[in-house]
């Protein structure tokens, strides 16, 4: 008798727990956001960083089902997306892997990321000698959108094409035609392939304009290359607005999510150094959240804020 009662009580408890679990689970699935069904992959520091998970929660009100610590915009994050272990990944916005794998870069519609738009920095003296430099580089920047930059990176790092060849094709397709240049300038770059591609594009456009160009690429990191620009060893360098501003102001926190305001601030710091930042491009190289094509289609994702919408 006692055994039967105990068994009945046990069964009742079990039924209660099972029904509670299924109710709880069901409720979550129907009421949750899209993000609550997805896994985010990013570098281990992501949960603590304002430009990563912390910002996604604070600015966008997004909470993911799970965060998986992988690598900073590297192969493990990419494989996790391809394998389906994660649906959202943090990559750099100009990473060719985005195009190669058909990932969809979600629009940062609430401007979480600082404006690391590409911007040419030129020595004022070179600009005074050849005013055509400004027109030529502005025209290049006007054509450099995100798709263009990502494709240039892909041709070099994925397809294995030579930088001068890739730059030549892009310059020819752009139909740039400037003239009236004279004398010579030196174009530099850090040892980052993206900057070398841009440096080569600058060089070819300026050569078309009649200027003799010396190339000093792969010089090292910003700590080496920027002083070379200030001392006149090089005259032109492709930079990233927010990061370069925080470099020249020693991390004063003046960079913002607005590229125009960031470039204005950048120029305030550059004037005393005999340098000037020209027009910035639409293309950026900053943190970007990507999803696979399948995930984007399934949930209709275009912007990061779409992740906060209720799940279908």
């Amino acid at each position: 008798m006692r055994h039967i009662r105990t068994a009945a009580l046990g069964a009742a408890m079990l039924a209660l727990i099972v029904s509670a679990c299924s109710l709880g689970g069901g409720g979550q699935a129907s009421k949750g956001t899209i993000a609550s069904q997805l896994v985010l992959a990013g570098p281990p520091e992501c949960p603590e960083r304002p430009f990563c998970l912390k910002g996604l929660t604070g600015t966008y009100g997004i909470t993911f089902k799970e965060f998986k610590p992988t690598d900073p915009g590297g192969p493990i994050t990419i494989e996790a997306l391809k394998k389906g272990d994660a649906q959202v990944g943090l990559l750099f916005t100009s990473d060719p892997a985005i195009a190669v794998n058909g990932f969809v870069l979600l629009k940062d519609d609430k401007q979480l990321q600082l404006a690391d738009n590409l911007v040419p920095v030129v020595r004022q003296a070179a600009l005074d000698a050849n005013p055509v430099i400004e027109d030529a580089l502005n025209a290049v920047m006007a054509k450099l959108d995100q798709a263009a930059l990502t494709d240039l990176n892909k041709q070099v790092t994925v397809d294995g094409k030579a930088v001068p060849e890739v730059a030549k094709a892009w310059v020819e397709a752009g139909g740039f035609s400037f003239s009236g240049g004279s004398g010579s300038v030196t174009v530099g770059s850090t040892n980052f392939y993206e900057q070398e591609i841009l440096g080569e594009i600058f060089a070819q456009v300026l050569e078309q304009a009649g200027i003799t160009v010396e190339r000093k690429f792969q010089l090292g990191n910003r700590e080496i290359v920027f002083p070379a620009l200030e001392s006149g060893e090089i005259d032109i360098l492709a930079e990233y607005a927010a990061t370069a501003l925080e470099f020249v102001n020693a991390g004063a926190g003046e960079a913002s999510t607005d590229p125009a305001a960031t470039v204005v601030k950048f120029n305030e710091h550059l004037a005393s150094r005999g340098l000037v930042a020209l027009a910035f491009a639409a293309a950026t190289d900053q943190n970007g959240f990507v999803v696979t094509k399948a995930t984007a289609d399934k949930y209709g994702l275009v912007s990061i804020s779409d992740l906060a919408k209720p799940a279908p």
């Binding site: 992959a41 281990p44 998986k68 610590p69 996790a80 391809k82």
Partner: protein
């Protein structure tokens, strides 16, 4: 000194002892992953080693394969496995199994081969079948060498299981990888200390097991490593300093 104080503070913070990122949970993950890897490695390497040692066939190939296995870094295997098996333990486990196999395989083969021919012949003379000779004469005599291989494997696996954290796996490597990413030296060192203690503990436990086999009454000491005239084990068990 500041760093040591930081590590002490880290260990005394109750927040680091609870939840799915707490020390007990992370140790549990680490132990489960390591134990599973070693157990599966034994399941593969022990029968293979016994067969090769007993028949004497394929010994060179086994040694070559084991040498190759030891030469390929676990980190490289781990990264290669992510596209195949996905993130976390599903990639870490096969990488650790491949790390654990060579010492067990080589020591098993060497242990069986080192059993003196007199003992084997006496067994055959008594009318034992090949399997009986293997089970009653060769295996007991080779047991200390096999356990020594197991010990080497287990210590290597416990130390290397930290790599799982690089591919979003759990375990004690989480503290080291996260600490590095967040530039928190105290967390890195705390993780390293925990891994070291776990590896030393594993080594001690298996050393005790190895001694028990060496002294077991009724076991045949012929050819046991350490016995006079016996060839030394190709895998000398590492001391704690090898961690």
């Amino acid at each position: 000194m500041d760093l040591l104080r930081g590590v002490a503070t880290w260990f005394s913070d109750p927040g680091n002892w609870s939840g799915s990122n707490g020390v007990p949970w992370r140790i549990g993950e680490h132990v489960v992953l390591s134990a599973l890897a070693v157990a599966l490695a034994v399941a593969i390497a022990l029968p293979a080693g016994l067969a090769i040692g007993h028949t004497g066939r394929g010994e060179r190939i086994a040694t070559a394969v084991a040498g190759l296995g030891r030469a390929v870094p676990s980190y490289a295997l781990l990264i290669l496995f992510v596209p195949l098996f996905g993130l976390g333990f599903s990639s870490a486990l096969p990488a650790l199994i491949l790390l654990a196999i060579p010492p067990i395989l080589v020591n098993t083969v060497a242990g069986i081969r080192a059993v003196e021919a007199d003992g084997v012949e006496a067994g055959r003379g008594m009318g034992m079948t090949g399997v009986q000779v293997l089970a009653r004469v060769e295996l007991p005599a080779a047991m200390p060498a096999i356990v020594a291989g197991l010990r080497t494997s287990a210590v290597q696996v416990v130390a290397t299981a930290t790599l799982a954290a690089l591919v979003a796996g759990g375990g004690l490597g989480r503290y080291i990888v996260d600490g590095f990413a967040l530039q928190q030296d105290d967390r890195i060192l705390a993780g390293a200390v925990l891994v070291a203690f776990l590896a030393i503990g594993t080594d001690r436990a298996l050393t005790a097991a190895q001694r028990r086999f060496e002294r077991r009454p009724g076991s045949i000491p012929i050819g046991a490593p350490g016995a006079p005239g016996a060839p030394s084990s190709p895998f000398a068990p590492p001391g704690p300093s090898a961690v």
